[in-house]
Amino acid sequence: MAVNQWLATGNYFTTYQQEQRTFSTHLDRSIFSIFLLSLFVWPILFPLSNTYMFVIDNVLIAVVAVIGLNLVTGFAGLISIGHAAFVGIGAYTIASFSQVLGDSHILITHFWPLLILLGGFAGAFFGAIVGLPALRLKHLYLAIATLSFQMIFEWFIQSMTFFNQGQTIYIGRAFFLTGEVGRKNHYLFWYYIVLIVIVLVGFGVRNLLKTRYGRCLVAVRDNDRAADAMGMHPGLTKVYAFALAGFLAGVAGGLHAYLYRGVGFESFTLHHSISYLAMAIVGGLGTLNGSFWGPAAIQFLDLQVENLAELAGQFLPSSMNIATALRPFTFGLVIVLFLMFEPRGIANWWRIVKSYTKLWPFRY
């Protein structure tokens, strides 16, 4: 290694361990630490209203879910269009406890980290089951299999009286250290919880991708026969990719249940699965930071189109209902444009920006 470890310029890796490091320079590490610290500090310095905190919480929960989807679709190359169902499984795991024990039972209000984790494991279990067809199916056929799972989930929830036939099942307020997390701090509290989850998941996935198991995912995506010939187990890798994606989706579902203080079927429909997929595509499939960009970009777009549709709804004749079409139209258009002109997503723009700054102070 070069003497000056603050700059990338002139730094050469001499061992594999050096190349595997999360931060290649001290500068990277410092910038990231400051960024992370600012994420924790800004809500205290610049408090936002519940409305905006709620939007941010939603984006962060989507980030957890999309990291999962990116693992299975981006890194392992297995198309999943039933991801919202896995999120729903996590949420409905907690809802099941609420149905059996009551929404204010101590297990729900005090042991919420445990329940969120349980939601993750339930998602992983169903993920592994849904992953089984992946042993035989590929591409569009696998997509149809995951779509079937989404349909089964929707039908199941809407038909079961235990799950209130899809109507809201309430979840009590969480308790933390000094007592109940009240309405005033609800969204701020869950912001910090989801942020901690994201940091843990982000580092976890980043490290996973450097391990044998992570490389297996990419190898199976690129060519599963070649991976098999290299001594990997493509079948097991696919099932394990689905289980891991299911786990993260389940955790996201658990967080969703506590944030909304209730679980209703409408939050886990096919539309939401498509949205998650759109977030992964727009953010950048097969990149970790794409999982952060995607949800933020789609949510931002959604808010803008929402305002536009509302405005248009006031001027356009209601019989034509053009305003209604604006949202799906814009949504579809953005996905198509990204697939055509920037298939590597926003993450690629980030990569370009980074590569410009990497050689600083030299031009090339």
Partner: protein, 415 residues
């Protein structure tokens, strides 16, 4: 020295006077400002997206009536600022809108869908916010203190319609099928009808059909015929009913007159009917029987004249002006305005606590009769459904016509 002292004293006196006068002015300004108050209300509903065919005219009804209240100085110098937001029938957006409204200190909230009303129920309780939704789902009232249904619940409407079937059926036990929306909204009232049957309502529920997105109902209708079904009770939205009515008409299965033997007579509750059904089904909906608690513009009256005048005043097209959803929007705005008026008249501060109190006192002599409904609006600690009366309408020659006098379910009290 002496001169400068005098000048200093003068300066202090002048400054003091300026200070006192300016303070006085501020007090005066404050008093003027205090005279005209703005009461903030919130409405979140589907202006676009699913069910916007109902939500769009509903929002116009609310908007127009509050404009009318402000323009005619119904509350004196005070005005109502009702923030109307489109939630596209998405619960998360509704929740966001509600949080925004609460942050802006609204005193009354108007909601729309069943899903979001149920999802926000706990929030309404915590914030202690009086709420009128556009959903008449009976489940909204379970474990709830702050939700007030504008009219009788879907359950009550469907049970009342069942009673109407039994009352007008001529021979033996009426055989009925239910055609419902495949959701909790659709399924909710089914068990109440079954309870009414168990409690002695003389009819047989032969089949409960949860419709999909079928574009052809021929097989289903033939099956119902083979089972001897004579009446089909609908609880869904207009488009699937229109599809079924057109299929039935095409197959020659629709009764020529109400209750004709060997044919099917179709009946439905609130969201299955209205002018949109006529527009979708055309002649096929002739004879369709429908319950509604609102006055319809197809039946001229004082209330409908005022409704049409309001629509004209604010430049609404005929479609919106004649919609029963426009009337429903006006009605909830009327109730909200009325409780504000009553709170003011009682010398109470207009806040959510006092408006909640006024809502609960809206009964007996204090029942409210808006021009949009067929009966008075009554609420109390135990009565959370506003208009208890239901009017039967029947499609004749492409318009809905009143059938008999407004009625009320008897079996709902028994079950």
């Amino acid at each position: 020295m002496k001169k400068s002292r005098i000048l200093m004293v003068l300066a202090v006196v002048v400054l003091s006077l300026v200070f006192v006068v300016s303070c006085g002015k501020k007090e005066e300004e404050k008093a003027v400002v205090e005279e005209a108050k703005v009461y903030k209300l919130g409405l979140s509903l589907a202006i676009t997206g699913p069910t916007s065919d109902a939500g769009n005219p509903y929002s116009k009804g609310v908007e127009d009536y509050f404009k009318f209240v402000n323009d005619t100085k119904m509350l004196g110098n005070d005005t109502i600022d009702c923030m109307i937001r489109d939630d596209q029938y998405k619960n998360d957006v509704t929740k966001r809108n509600f949080e925004d409204f609460v942050g802006q200190d609204i005193v009354f909230y108007l909601n729309y869908s069943t899903g979001s009303t149920l999802g926000l129920k706990k929030d309404f309780e915590e914030v202690k916010m009086p709420v009128i939704p556009a959903s008449y789902h009976a489940g909204n009232l379970d474990d709830s203190n702050y939700i007030f249904l504008p009219v009788a619940s879907y359950s009550e409407q469907l049970v009342a319609l069942s009673e109407y079937v039994v009352k007008n059926h001529k021979m033996g036990k009426a055989k009925v099928a239910m055609f419902i929306h495949p959701s909790a909204f659709g399924r909710g009232p089914v068990s109440d009808v079954e309870k009414a049957v168990a409690a002695g309502l003389n009819m047989e529920v032969v089949e409960v059909v949860e419709h999909g997105k079928d574009l052809d109902n021929s097989a289903m209708l033939q099956r119902l015929m083979s089972k001897g079904v004579q009446y089909v009770l609908c609880h869904t939205v207009q488009s699937p009913v229109a599809t079924m009515l057109k299929d039935s008409s095409r197959l020659g299965l629709t009764a020529g007159s109400y209750g004709e033997e060997g044919k099917l007579t179709f009946l439905g509750v609130h969201y299955t009917g209205g002018n949109d059904l006529i527009a979708l089904a055309g002649d096929a909906c002739d004879g369709y029987t429908w319950t509604c608690s609102f006055n319809l513009t197809s039946e001229a009256g004082e209330g409908t004249t005022q409704q049409l005048a309001l629509a004209k005043q604010y430049g609404r097209d005929d479609k919106a002006a004649n919609s029963h959803n426009y009337a429903a929007g006006i009605m909830v705005a009327q109730v909200a305005t009325e409780v504000i008026k009553r709170a003011k008249a009682a010398g109470l501060e207009v806040n959510k606590e006092n408006l909640y109190k006024m809502m609960n006192e809206m009964n007996g002599d204090k029942a409210y009769q808006p021009y949009t409904t067929i009966g008075p609006v009554t609420y109390s600690e135990t009565d959370r459904a506003g208009v208890d009366m239901l009017q039967i309408y029947n499609v004749q020659g492409g318009t809905f016509k009143k059938v008999g006098e407004p009625m009320q379910s008897e079996y709902m009290k028994k079950i």
